[in-house]
Point group: C2
Chain length 190, copies 2
């Protein structure tokens, strides 16, 4: 297996309000040199799968500026300075869906596009929910959409459920919960 | 349901060799105005799940500049000018794993982070593979890693299998293939 390439030079080539783009020059173990650009990662984000009971997921539907459409997915947000991952997850769901959680569990860590983006997203399962609203800064109210865990076919065919991280989280939570958890005969596959 | 916000202004705030960052000002239906930044999308990419037989997936392991580590995932690449999605998929697997495909099927379209990134990735299942190598431009040879579809636990726990799109593709292909396809007793869940 090849040794990891060495970063021999790095420079910031763009800085906007929220993005930093870095150009790096790499020396590969076989002697090849290449320039790459990448978006730097910051503190990472949390994506939360809230389950008010063993059969129900809480999704959110909100406007997404990147794709310029309303998107259905799980609550998510950037980890703020001074908070750990589970604190960030608890804060995000209080802000976005008006529930806190007494059982927050880190499930998995995913990357977005590791060739180009340094950002990491931490998938968190939130159970034992209780009502608690914290003020968020969304421009319009977020629509909370409950979904039955036994009805994933309908969710996966929705045109507004497109986000790779939400799809991955959905399946990883199902896998974590194990067989028999909210799975009907019809939904036996996957 | 709220009407979609109007984009009332847009301007390019950064352009690097591969990224374009746009700032947009939006007017929401409730009167609120907000600025957002987003990374523009281009032609999109394809991510391919190659299956030389009904039980086997072909993964690739290569250096990822964004996260500065070797990553295991499915072959992927940007759609080039003048090619459609399945042509792009066929080209990418000939370049990356040395196989062409006589059965390319578009399975799903996913977004990366729709709040911030316009990019779309098209998930393609490739079967009926035949040996054909096309020259690629990778700085070092890509390692091809076959994986048994019945052994997903081991794959999901690997520290280098982190990419949300690859995880989503894995489960969507399993779901598409249906029950009984390469699923052992032990792997009955999911």
């Amino acid at each position: 297996m090849a040794a990891k390439p060495r970063i021999i030079e790095r420079r910031l080539v763009a800085r906007t309000r929220i993005f930093r783009v870095e150009e790096i020059e790499l020396a590969f173990s076989n002697g090849n040199r290449r320039h790459f650009e990448r978006i730097l990662g910051g503190r990472g984000s949390v994506l939360i799968v809230p389950m008010p009971d063993a059969r129900t997921l809480l999704l959110v539907r909100e406007y997404a500026a990147g794709t310029d459409r309303y998107e259905l997915g799980f609550p998510k947000g950037i980890v703020e300075p001074g908070e750990d991952l589970l604190e960030a997850a608890g804060r995000e769901i209080r802000e976005e869906i008006g529930f806190g959680s007494r059982d927050l569990r880190l499930l998995h860590q995913v990357s977005l596009a590791p060739g180009y983006i340094q950002h990491e997203t931490h998938l968190v399962l939130a159970r034992e929910l209780y009502p608690e609203r914290a003020p968020g800064d969304e421009p319009e109210p977020i629509e909370v959409v409950p979904w039955d865990l036994g009805d994933l076919d309908a969710l996966l065919t929705r045109e507004d459920f497109t986000e790779a991280r939400s799809i991955a989280a959905l399946f990883l939570v199902r896998r974590f919960l194990g067989p028999g958890q909210g799975v009907s005969e019809q939904d036996g596959r996957v």
